[in-house]
């Protein structure tokens, strides 16, 4: 395990990675972090500052200068951003002027923190420097990868805080990174094990989230080395939901522990977004404009595999886009440059999404009824980007293709979920019982119609409604809303919850279904708003839960998009 952690630490990048995990680690070690890494330049040589009791029992101020990987000669004194100049700056400027008043009297430990090791050809120079500049009240400490790994194993993943069985599942999860399904399975088992070990105190929950963060980081870094970040994507998504489930009740409070919890959850969410963004920007968007490019990259000669994988990509891209838009909308005080960069990224996501829809025709024909989730995510993201033209056009194509598939008995959308059953779908239409069973219910057709109406008020469904009513008279058209049970089960999906809104009639105008939807939006508003993710204004987490656990997106998300709003307000 230690080797695993050490390898992980040595692979971390400096900015956004090593300096991202250090605050949590220090907090878990009992130190109080009073200065966190800022985007951009070091603050007078200091990347991170904390105060707390050292191993010798003395309370000290710890000033960290962080370097990724091994400390080489170049890193020691090769540039102005090297470690030695930073140490000089710390002593000349930070120690003299920047330590908060309440800690001014405390001894200072200047810590050279590296993810790997100190190279032998630097060791001598560093030792000499430490000897020369150690004086009363100022000492130097080396926090290399080995030491950090020890701290992690004792403070975060120690045997006293995580059972051997959970650690074993985590090791297996890392070992199976090239088989993402298995890796995710072990990770989920680990969570179940840890669930039984989480204490009741807020402190325990904070630690739990930090543990999740660390585990996801380890997975991500290892997977990055293997050039396959599928497992960390799925695991971090699950971790985010678990983290939210256990901390949501405390996050809105203003206590110190609540703030720590917020920080830990924010780190976890940021980590997941980073992983998602890495996946989208490095693996997906570069090939968005290539005809059949992503479909061919699935590397399977079976259309089912292509269909499932591309819809998965679609959902992830849309959801990540929603997150990025969400973060941008919430951010305040951004410089013009940063705002422009954020907007450019969102444009890239939007254009990429549109290109993927255009260049991969299989996305017109969903195989699963639950692909309505991806359709809703795409609709939401495009609506946020005001691309109603794309919504109208694409949803119309999907509806037409789905009906064509139904009429010609060719892999029409169904409610099957097991891969083996999907591989054998569909059976001959003469098997009426099979057909009625696999199309017994649908959220897809109502979703498609509503999105088209939202995008185009005058959309008509004369042919579609006739076809649906003729071929699927037995099908329960439905949508979903949360209820009082949802908060307890939405994020972990450990029990059924919510309500199905049924009896939706597919009519030529589509107005009937629209009226029911927005009527239900009004009726369900209190319940929806009572969800912690909504209350705390972190509503994308609901979408994460829906996508991950394959629950229909609540119809409440259409609340602000009603084309009837002008009349009904």
């Amino acid at each position: 395990m230690k080797l695993l952690i050490k390898e992980y630490l040595s692979s971390l990048k400096e900015r956004g990675e090593l300096d991202a995990i250090l605050p949590d680690l220090l907090s878990e070690m009992g130190l109080h972090v009073f200065s966190r890494p800022a985007v951009g330049v070091r603050q007078h040589g200091v990347d991170l500052a904390a105060v707390g009791v050292d191993g010798d029992g003395q309370r000290k101020v710890f000033l960290f200068t962080v370097k990724a990987g091994n400390l080489t000669r170049q890193d020691w004194n090769g540039t102005t951003q090297a470690v030695r100049p930073s140490l000089d700056e710390i002593q000349d400027s930070y120690v003299r002027q920047r330590i908060p008043k309440q800690y001014a009297e405390l001894p200072v430990a200047i810590c050279i923190c590296v993810g790997g090791d100190v190279d032998q050809n630097v060791d001598g120079d560093l030792s000499a420097y430490e000897d020369r500049y150690t004086k009363d009240g100022v000492e130097f400490q080396r926090w290399d990868g080995d030491r950090l790994a020890n701290f992690m194993l004792t403070a975060v993943l120690g045997e006293n805080v995580v059972s051997g069985e959970a650690r074993s599942y985590f090791r297996k999860s890392v070992a199976m990174l090239d088989e993402p399904g298995a890796s995710y399975g072990y990770f989920a088992e680990m969570l179940q094990k840890m669930r039984g070990e989480i204490g009741k105190r807020q402190k325990d929950k904070i630690r739990f989230v930090r543990q999740l963060n660390l585990c996801c980081w380890v997975l991500f870094v290892w997977a990055r080395e293997a050039d396959n970040i599928e497992a960390p994507y799925r695991c971090s998504e699950l971790a985010l939901l678990w983290g939210w489930h256990f901390t949501a009740e405390h996050l809105g409070k203003s206590s110190r522990q609540a703030k720590e919890m917020q920080n830990a959850m924010t780190s976890l969410i940021e980590l997941h977004i980073n992983i998602a963004n890495a996946f989208i920007t490095e693996k997906v968007l570069p090939h968005a404009d290539k005809r059949d490019g992503l479909a061919t990259a699935v590397n399977s000669s079976f259309a089912l595999d292509v269909n499932l994988r591309l819809y998965e990509i679609l959902g992830r891209l849309a959801l990540t886009g929603i997150w990025l838009q969400f973060v941008k909308n919430r951010a305040s005080g951004l410089t013009e440059e940063i705002e422009a960069r954020a907007e450019a990224e969102l444009v890239s996501y939007t254009d990429g999404l549109v290109q993927i829809l255009n260049q991969n025709g299989i996305l017109r024909s969903p195989r699963l009824d639950s692909h309505a989730i991806e359709l809703s995510l795409v609709g939401m993201f495009l609506a946020m980007r005001s691309r109603y033209d794309v919504i109208s056009d694409w949803m119309g194509q999907v509806l037409a293709a789905s009906l064509f598939a139904l009429q010609f008995n060719d892999a029409y959308p169904c409610i099957l979920t097991e891969y083996g059953e999907l591989a054998a779908h569909p059976k001959a239409r003469s098997d009426k019982k099979y057909f009625e069973n696999v199309t017994a219910g649908s959220t897809l057709y109502p979703t498609l119609m509503i999105w088209q109406k939202i995008a185009n008020k005058s959309a008509e469904f004369t042919d579609a409604s006739a076809a649906i009513n003729e071929i699927l008279p037995h099908c329960t058209m439905q949508l979903w809303v949360p209820n009082e049970s949802s908060e307890a089960h939405l994020y972990l999906h450990d029990a059924t919850h919510g309500l199905a809104v049924v009896g939706l009639e597919i009519t030529p105008s589509g107005d009937d279904i629209l009226q029911i939807v927005f009527e239900e939006c009004r009726h369900n508003e209190t319940r929806f708003n009572s969800l912690s993710a909504v209350k705390l204004s972190f509503w994308p987490i609901i979408l994460v839960a829906c996508r991950h656990h394959r629950i229909s997106v609540p119809l409440n998300f259409w609340r602000d998009l009603s084309p009837l709003n002008d009349a009904s307000a």
Binding site: D178, E179, P180, G181, D227, N228, I229, E230, Y233, F279, K283, H287, K290, R291, D292, G293, L294, A295, T296, A297, V298, N299, S300, S301, F302, A303, L304, D305, V306, R309, I313, N360, G361, I362, R364, S365, A401, F404, A405, F408, D410, A411, Y419, G420, A423, A424
Partner: protein, 591 residues
């Protein structure tokens, strides 16, 4: 079982034995058992002895037939004895009625075998050898006897050989008989009595038969009359009269299965001499035949395979199209085995013409049949030369033909590509050429990077007026493939090991099932015995020869395989693929 010997037959001994067995009963079985049949080296002597015995009234060689001895003989044994009778009959002294009875029994016992009618020929020869009795039979028929006279045809036919004028005239008169069987006998006899080189007799016969067609109300009689008419007419068509045409048209207007069978048969027999007008009448009539009658289809298939030419190809194309679209018993093109083989093996130009004809003017069923013809053609390894100029198609029609070619030949991309390239060459405008060239890329090469590309790329290098469009299509394909290659590996998108295993198992099960079905339908594999080898790359087996000696045989195993190219859309967008085919197939040309 008697053994044959080279020594000549002991006639006395044979005679004695024959009489003994004849008196005891079981003569025919005895003849079979003793090998006294055609294979016997003394067959002629045997026949002579038997004939002498009969003619000397020592026995009645026909008696065993009436005694039911034929029933003890089946299969080959029966035909051996029937053959003996066929050799005996012409030289027997016998009462005509008794002989006719015996002949009928022999024919009946032969069942549906083609040799069953041989005794009729023997009887005809007997008639020829016994003119007096033949004349008596004719007189009886002309007198209007009420008794059955099933072999009157042979009486007329045989009599005409020794007294043409009398028997020919008699046959003509019997056409007006009140008895159907007499009229039928006359009709058939007239088709067999040679009239040439006497042109007036020939014309008289043709005219009489034509009138018979027009006059009769009985379907069978009309069919027989048509059969005879065409047969006689075919002997000299130079003076084809309106009456002949009228008779054929009239018969066709009263269609029956029997008539269609005869028309197809006569077309196959006489297509070389029948006029184009008559051929076309017959072919058009056959378009209304009932495909449920396999005999009709077989005859028609053979006829078309023989007679198809540039002059009657349109008629044949229309006829086959009607049969393919029959509302109740639609023919499958594969049932026209001879026709398909002839086109694909010997008449590629006609095949090419038919393809273009049906692509442009055909319907779903006829277009659906074209790949079957192609499959056979490809086995010859040749390419077809599309006769687009013959059709003088407009640019819009060329595009239409191309779309149909793709819609129906998509599995046979090479054929579709060759049609498209020919249409590019024939296009009048660059816009049309570009439009067709874009189809070469999408969907042809895009789906079939192997077979379509292998055909198109060399064609794009040949000098032709519109070469640049082919090059452009190839370039588009190159760019498309380059883009796909540039994507590289994205392991996050790959199916899991478990999913691959599931698909793998499904594929194996499907192939295994197909293999088993093919195995059960293979007559060869059901005929041979099977051995399963557990180890080794070959087998050694021993067999004994007639001398009881062992011989060793070593056989090495070799592999046999087949490959097929699956269209890309099957994986990346199967629904669109199906939709595309649906669209292309259902598009209609605005007439």
């Amino acid at each position: 079982m008697a053994t044959e010997s080279d020594s000549s037959l002991d006639t006395e001994e044979f005679r004695t034995a024959v009489l003994d067995v004849y008196n005891a009963g079981g003569l025919l079985a005895w003849l079979r058992d003793q090998g006294y049949t055609r294979a016997n080296k003394q067959f002629d002597q045997l026949l002579q002895t038997l004939a002498d015995l009969h003619n000397s009234q020592a026995l009645n060689i026909l008696q065993p037939i009436f005694a039911g001895e034929l029933e003890c003989l089946t299969g080959r044994d029966f035909f051996l004895i029937q053959d003996v009778y066929c050799h005996l009959i012409p030289n027997l002294k016998a009462d005509a009625d008794e002989l006719m009875d015996a002949v009928q029994k022999l024919v009946y016992a032969g069942g549906q075998d083609l040799a069953a009618n041989d005794p009729n020929s023997a009887f005809r020869d007997w008639l020829g050898n016994h003119p007096d009795q033949t004349n008596q039979l004719l007189e009886r028929a002309e007198a209007g006897t009420n008794s059955d006279f099933p072999l009157l045809t042979f009486v007329l036919e045989a009599g005409a050989r020794f007294s043409f004028e009398r028997y020919h005239s008699a046959a003509l008169r019997l056409l007006s008989s009140t008895r159907l069987e007499f009229r039928l006998a006359a009709v058939i006899a007239l088709s067999r009595i040679p009239t040439l080189p006497d042109m007036s007799k020939h014309q008289e016969t043709v005219g009489a038969l034509a009138k018979q067609v027009l006059a009769t109300e009985d379907n069978n009689e009309r069919t027989s009359s048509v059969a005879s008419l065409l047969h006689v007419h075919a002997q000299d068509v130079a003076n084809e009269t309106e009456l002949v045409i009228e008779a054929i048209k009239f018969a066709i207007s009263q269609p029956t299965d029997g008539l269609h069978f005869i028309l197809a048969q006569r077309l196959a027999q006489h297509y070389k001499v029948l006029s184009l007008e008559v051929q076309q009448l017959i072919i058009d009539a056959l378009g209304h035949s009932n495909p449920a009658m396999k005999g009709v289809v077989d005859q028609l298939d053979f006829a078309f395979s023989q007679c198809i030419t540039d002059d009657n190809r349109q008629n044949i194309a229309d006829c086959v199209r009607q049969l393919l679209n029959h509302p109740e018993h639609a023919v499958d093109i594969g049932e026209l085995e001879s026709f398909c083989h002839r086109l694909s093996a010997e008449k590629p130009q006609l095949l090419a013409w038919l393809v273009i004809c049906w692509l442009r003017f055909g319907d779903h069923r006829s277009r659906e049949a074209l790949p079957v013809l192609f499959r056979r053609y490809h086995e010859t390894g040749l390419t077809l030369d599309w006769p687009l100029r013959e059709f003088a198609l407009s640019d819009e029609e060329l595009v239409f033909v191309c779309k149909k070619a793709i819609g129906y030949f998509l599995i046979d991309a090479r054929s579709a590509a060759s049609v498209l390239i020919a249409c590019i060459d024939a296009a009048q405008t660059d816009e049309t050429a570009q439009s067709i060239a874009s189809l070469l890329f999408d969907p042809l090469m895009l789906n079939y990077s192997g077979q379509a590309r292998e055909y198109i790329e060399p064609e794009s290098k040949k000098k032709r007026p519109r070469q640049k469009f082919l090059k452009s299509a190839v370039k588009q394909h190159d760019d498309y493939l380059a883009d796909l290659r540039s994507v590289g590996k994205i392991p996050e998108l790959w199916p899991s090991a478990a999913e691959r295993q599931i698909q793998g198992e499904r594929q194996r099960a499907l192939f295994s099932q197909s293999f088993a079905e093919a195995h059960s339908e293979s007559s060869l594999l059901n005929f041979v015995s099977r051995q399963t080898l557990l180890n080794g790359e070959g087998s050694v087996s021993y067999y004994r020869d007639y001398g009881g000696n062992h011989h060793r045989s070593e056989t090495m195993l070799s592999s046999h395989g087949t490959s097929m190219e699956v269209p890309r859309y099957e994986a990346v967008d199967p629904l669109y693929f199906q939709y595309l085919i649906f669209l292309l197939r259902n598009e209609t040309f605005p007439e």
